[in-house]
């Protein structure tokens, strides 16, 4: 039923209960089912009892249907939204430590950093550490350009995504959740 020819990258936005063990449950599910996860990032939302996970998954429609259903099956998962076919903004952050012992290279690295709107966040006599944010393709481009100088280390955050517009599904869910909680708090 699945065909790797139709695989593409999907970005899932997942709201989960913010308590101990939830990340482990999701990781165990992904490992047990053998899904291909490119990246995963987690942090608290405006509501401290809820966390948002952004998952980048490779697969076709069938694989994605399974991933979404299996995630939903976990009691601690509140909502899963596939942002791939919705209008959304996706960004990733990256730190690159690059060789900069040659003074001629230092100027060139600075220029590249500036063109791509990055920032130098750490300097040593031998290296620059660059902070760079952008879509995956842009980050790949920067890496390609910096490759010749010698990259010492790369740290990437994995993709973060948010739906565009005011009526995005993900935002609606979070809003609804907050509203329900407020109602509960005032005893409605």
């Amino acid at each position: 039923m699945t065909d790797p020819k139709n695989y593409r990258k999907h970005v899932l936005s997942v709201l989960v209960e913010n308590h101990q063990g939830v990340l482990a449950k999701i990781a165990a599910l992904i490992a047990a089912k053998g899904y291909n996860i490119d990246s995963l990032s987690v942090a608290e939302t405006l509501d401290p009892t809820v966390s948002r996970m952004t998952l980048a998954v490779h697969g076709d429609e069938w694989v994605l249907e399974q991933v979404v259903k299996q995630l939903h099956r976990l009691i601690d998962v509140i909502k899963v939204t596939d942002l791939t076919d919705e209008e959304h903004v996706g960004r990733e952050m990256m730190f690159i430590r690059v060789n900069a012992s040659d003074p001629a290279h230092r100027a060139e690295i600075l220029r590249i950093t500036e063109i791509f709107r990055g920032r130098i966040v750490d300097v040593t006599p031998n290296s620059y550490t660059i902070e760079m944010t952008g879509e995956e393709k842009k980050l790949e481009g920067v890496l390609e350009l910096l490759q010749p100088f010698g990259i010492q280390e790369v740290v990437r955050s994995g993709v973060l995504a948010i739906a565009r517009g005011s009526k995005s599904a993900a935002r609606r869910d979070e809003g609804r959740l907050r509203l329900a909680q407020r109602k509960q708090a005032v005893g409605e």
């Binding site: 039923m1 989960v16 063990g21 249907e65 939903h72 601690d76």
Partner: protein
């Protein structure tokens, strides 16, 4: 009211309506067992924690009441893993409480410590680690709610020693649950119901393929109504047996690897498959690429993950099987159609398959006892009591599914998904606890029974009059059958000729032991077994090398089914030479 965690725990169980638990005490759960003495809770002391879980499964399947087990930390908890996995695969609504070392030493390799929440993450529907005494009422409430609703399943609650010994204000057991990530669908989507009804009303060769979900949802009556209304021939999975009376004229027999020829052929030649509370297990579908190639599929299930997991579905309906069938029947009642005439040709075809390939065996009066004959006789001699029948796993299980023609829901208890040897006897024990006055039978294999037989003493202790019938072929029969059919008869580690004397064994436990060795003994021995009070172990010594037919070899398409006397194709050889 400031109470200890153990007191709160007991009060919560009481409020939940739990009056019977199965369990085994140990170090860190001692405080709970101490407090238990002051509460009117019936505790069945088993001799191994795996037995506690299977007993709870039997209790649940027979009664429909969520079962409860309490065990200690470390080995007590890890001994439940097989049972939990079995319960997850077969959707058994059970709650297991495990002791845990104090929170302060968790993760420090304390005595009898195991990471139980971590270990059971993938073999429970959900699990909890209680970290504060005041959380206990909410956790217990949620645990039972999750175990019994939606697709039922096992829930585990880990109770650290300091949490059950600590004190907290007890403000009563919560009356409601609100879990924002858990809202199982109950009613089917009306649009989907209409679509399904349309498909059903235009089918010429439909078949109903029902599973364990019908039993769990108590939807047997609704299924029967659907069958009567539409006159659609019906087959059930191993887990669904009992959902439709086996004397119903439209009953095709079980389907799957050892199902009847007619039921399996119906699945191949149908134009509309109506799957109800079933999950397209590989033992049913055979080779997936060959499965359901020329038919439409309606799939009714409470668990959305089961839908389109293995096969393409035309009309999925997510909801409680009982509710959806009620909706569907209401929709179908509006249809004006002469159901029988429209399906006449189909009935003819099915009858032909049934005639050409019935289930059959050949019992010679002077030969060895055929296992099928023994089970057939158990059925004939006990059917009038409407007994609860449990089985182990293996050949005897498949023969029991063929020849013990379960006629009512919740009367057939077996390990389907996980295929857990040693399941039958403890499950029968649990069912007997739920129904002390009912005839409860365990049809077991010699291999299966030996895996959990130590708990015969539990039956004797609590006077649980389970009637065990060991179909003893002195082999691990199913493995031997595969070695016979697919490994050129090279038998490897399947000979169980060295077995205990089951009659003396039963007597050593204080139970009654009986034995039948000749076909003529079978009837009187079965009669004696069921009329003897208390637990009885009956060994029926059978033909050693009988094979179970029909069989759809693993990985083959349904149409490759092999019936009695058919040759085994050379391409199925799996050994080496």
């Amino acid at each position: 009211m400031r109470l200890t965690g153990s007191e709160i725990f007991m009060k919560c169980l009481q409020a939940e309506g739990v009056h019977t638990v199965f369990g085994h005490p140990g170090g860190v759960i001692l405080h709970g067992y101490d407090v238990m003495l002051d509460y009117p809770l019936r505790h069945v002391l088993v001799r191994h924690e795996q037995v506690a879980i299977h007993a709870v499964e039997g209790y649940y399947k027979a009664s429909g009441q969520t079962g409860t087990a309490i065990v200690t930390s470390g080995p007590g908890a890890t001994n439940t893993i097989t049972g939990l996995t079995d319960a997850l695969m077969d959707s058994m609504g059970i709650v297991v409480f495990t002791g845990q070392v104090p929170t302060a030493v968790m993760g420090c390799d304390a005595f009898q410590e195991a990471d139980v929440v971590g270990t059971t993450r993938t073999c429970t529907k959900h699990n909890f680690l209680a970290l504060k005494t005041e959380e206990l009422p909410r956790i217990v409430k949620e645990a039972y709610h999750i175990a019994r609703t939606g697709r039922p399943g096992p829930v585990l609650v880990d109770l650290p020693k300091d949490v059950i010994m600590g004190r907290a204000d007890f403000k009563g057991y919560p009356s409601e649950v609100s879990i924002r990530g858990y809202n199982p669908s109950v009613n089917g989507h009306p649009g989907q119901i209409r679509k399904a009804a349309e498909l059903i009303a235009s089918a010429r060769r439909p078949v109903i393929y029902g599973g364990g979900g019908i039993i769990h949802a108590d939807g047997g009556a609704e299924l029967t109504e659907l069958v009567n209304l539409t006159q659609i021939p019906t087959t059930l999975t191993l887990m669904g047996l009992g959902a439709l009376d086996t004397s119903h004229p439209l009953w095709l027999g079980m389907l799957g690897m050892h199902g009847t020829y007619a039921a399996n052929m119906a699945m191949v030649h149908t134009d509309l498959m109506i799957a109800i509370g079933a999950r397209f297990d590989d033992r049913v579908t055979g080779k997936l690429s060959e499965f359901a190639k020329n038919c439409k599929i309606i799939h009714i299930d409470v668990d959305p993950t089961s839908i389109r997991k293995n096969v393409h579905v035309d009309v999925p309906i997510v909801g409680d099987v009982k509710r959806v069938l009620t909706q569907l029947n209401a929709e179908l009642r509006k249809v004006e159609r002469d159901w029988r005439t429209e399906q006449e040709e189909w009935y003819g075809q099915l009858a032909e398959w049934q005639r050409a390939h019935p289930l059959r065996y050949d019992q010679r009066p002077d030969g060895a006892i055929k296992p099928q004959y023994a089970i057939d006789m158990i059925y004939r001699l006990t059917e009038e009591h409407d007994p609860i029948v449990a089985t182990g796993v293996g050949q005897h299980q498949m023969w029991a599914s063929q020849y013990y023609r379960a006629r009512n829901p919740r009367r057939w208890i077996t390990s389907g998904g996980l295929g857990t040897m040693g399941f039958g006897f403890p499950a029968a024990l649990g069912a007997q606890v739920a129904f002390p006055d009912k005839l409860v039978i365990d049809i077991d294999g010699d291999g299966s029974f030996q895996m959990t037989m130590q708990d015969l003493i539990t039956c004797v202790q609590y006077n649980l009059p389970v009637k065990v019938f060991i179909i003893n072929n002195k082999y691990l029969g199913m493995v031997r059958q595969w070695q016979d059919m697919f490994y050129n008869k090279r038998y490897s580690q399947v000979d169980l000729q060295m077995h205990p004397d089951f009659v003396k064994l039963a007597e050593a436990f204080g139970a009654v032991g009986l034995r039948a060795e000749h076909p003529g003994d079978v009837k009187p021995i079965i009669e004696k077994a069921i009329s003897t009070p208390g637990p009885v172990v009956t060994e029926i010594v059978t033909e050693r090398e009988e094979n179970c037919f029909p069989i759809i070899p693993a990985g083959c398409a349904i149409k490759d089914i092999i019936d009695v006397g058919d040759p085994v194709p050379e391409k199925l050889f799996q050994g080496w030479r």
